[in-house]
Amino acid sequence: MLGLSRATFRQRWPLFVGAALTVCIGVALVQSSLLVLISAATLPVPAGLAPAARAAFVEGSTTAVTLSALTLAFSAFLAVFIVSSTFAFTVAQRRPELALLRLVGAGRGAMRRLLVGEAVLLAIIGTAAGIPVGLAATRFQSGLLVGLGMVPDGFNGEWRSWILGVSAGVGIGVSLAGVLVAARRAGRVRPLEALRDTGDSARVMTATRWVAGLLFLAGGIALVILTPIGGAAGGQALGGNAALCLAVALSALSPLLVPVVARLIPVRGPVGELAVAALGDGVRRSAATAAPVIVLVGLVLAQATMLTSTTAAGAAEQRRATAGDLVLDATGPVGGDVTDLPGVAWASTEVVLPLTVSWGSGDDVEREDGQALVVDPAAYATAHPGREAVEALRGGRVAVAGPGAGAGSPGDTVGVLVGGSDLGPLPIVAGVPDAIGGGADLLLTADAVPAAELAAAPSRTVVALAPDADRDRVLAALAALGTVSTVPDWIAADTAARETTTVAVFTVIMGLGGLYALIGVVNAVVVGAAPRPAEFATARLSGLTRRQVLRAALLESAAVTTVGLLLGGLAAGGSFIAVLALTATMTGVATLAVPWALIGLLAGGLYLVTAVTSALATWSGTRRAPVSLLGATT
């Protein structure tokens, strides 16, 4: 049987190379994300760091861990999705040949053994190539995290020998998962199909497709509904996963949708007719090409839109939740000095301290790092409309849950460590509303914190001018204490910093994964064109020129890309609804910031990639004189 595989390989190598390539990159990405994740999670905090530096280090590596975990999740998803759809498509493309094997007596078991054997072989090749490629990916991903300042220079996802086992497991497991369904179907190919060369004789909308499509559709809708109750971080994850589910659902159902769109294409002349006919006849092919486009567009668009929308919502929320005219960035509790200045109506000084909260006791202690804000309750309530719950701090040695909400809820008593001082257990007596843009996790008063901690810590002071104040004199006096900006400028600068982080986060999570999905697209186009030389030859013998055949193929690929973009947009639309609901719940204002530039870039890039690939594939498929291709039936 292997001889048959070998011979088939010689003729259909693009199919096999494509399949092995998808395994290779999938293995590389999963391996690399896993190594980076483990290295970030086990990164030791350097000894002898000052509390603030230590806090910054911990925050950076925590973010790096979160991002790597997300990257790992996306990589694993993409590996499963792209490898299984590639394997299934490759088997579908070989259906005529498989029917012929059935005709000369291959039983179901033999068919399955043949395909599973091939898949294992491809998986081994792909994994063997994927492991070294993974090392390069590790270097790249580690470099990204270093570049973003989340981990120190010299950080690298460290090699661990057990990863070999994981990578082999991923490569072979994902390939087997991909081929098993396809092999079962191939076992059921009817031998008579070999005698009817009417192209795509198999039903494309299989039961598996229906079940997967409807299941993921339901899952996606459920996640959209759940998003608003997920809170700032959970909501984003739910919304992103909603788009992911919808993308899977729509790619499973795409054979139903491709013909609908094909009917909308204005047909003119024989070239257009050929393209539309090919779209209708090759529904399986169109669906296979559209699938990675849908997933790529769905994921990228959803992720980008969720990030930009929550950032925009956070900025708007911050504007609403900040009264006053100026912000002073300084060191230590400068509140007294500021309120004493003539022309200052009120001032709220907020000292920022690194925070560690702990729950439980004995061996069972859980710790969480975050940020504490030491405030004057009355001034804070004035400076931040909507956060009047802070007044509960007047109760003495107590804490109030802050807008970041990462240190527990009212009713909890938590161990509090700020800077280098252990404040012991403090009851959380109230909480201000969660903010979508995050913020401090715990609010404290100066009474609870040693003065020495406060003196060295960074602080910001929101200042309101009196109606009769001399603005310039106040500005000059404040400038002596620290850096002054207007409230709008201060919020704008803060938002800009968040946006930079957002872009970085997006690049880390989606960068390599997006590239992988793009390779999946290229692969599907190549695999789709592999068995078509005979079809092209027939078209040319019917009088079309090579150029016209090429134009028809380009038109067809543009149509399929359009379908992919539309459906991907639809999948992302689920997360648009989710983010609207999330922002409405959390900030009272439904916010959607659609990244049009990114959409344009993505659409343009995809049209270009599919056009170039299908042009090259068609050109090479029409290289031989048409007559030479008609003799061989398979």
Binding site: A7, L100, L101, V104, G105, R188, L192, L195, T633, T634
Partner: protein, 259 residues
Amino acid sequence: MVPVTTTTFAGSFPGTAPGTAAAVALHGVTRTYGRGPTAVRAVDGVDLEFPRGAWTAVMGPSGSGKSTLLHCAAGLERVDGGRVRLGDTDITAASDDELAALRRERIGFVFQGYHLIGALTAEQNVALPLRLAGRRPPRAEVRAALSMVGLGDRARHRPRELSGGQQQRVAIARAMVTRPEVLFADEPTGALDSASARTVLDLLAAMAARGQTIVMVTHDPAAAARAGAVVFLRDGRVADRLVGASAHDVADRLVRLEA
């Protein structure tokens, strides 16, 4: 319609006791395509026995159900009614794996369109059924099958490097390499020029002379005349049959049938 029956037709041929020794027997076989008003009854209650060791031709107008009959007889198509026997085996309700084993071991096929695997050489194509049966065929056995069809020197050629007639001969070698009980051929010369067709028919004749059972659908009266007996189908039913007729007689009968 002019009655054209020359000998009484009782579902079997002279010299064959009904129900025994038939290589393939169909009893009341019916096959309908589609449902409702568009349903086509491609084979309609056919009783037929193809005797062991005989070469039988099946003729009839286009769409009369010849291919469907052949597919039913070979277990490629399920029947809606009736029974199909191959030798002593009732294959009417055989499982998929049993049918696959039949195709590997007991029956061979030749079709108008050759249907060779393009990626494999002639030799590999011929060896395929044996390898699917789990055997590692000796090269000599495969070469012998190719030599029998006169292509001993083309073993390493791929189908696209062979002429149509040569490809059909490779297909015959592939069908015969398992020494099947019955060889089914659906218009094996349909796509060939007359010289190549004659070569193929000579091959079949030589095989028949050695006692090979052959069931062959054809449109060509000359081809049919080389078979020992001819069965005529019309509208899915057996309309007539001839034994030992000349090409002229066969053509004559066909014209009357199509009238």
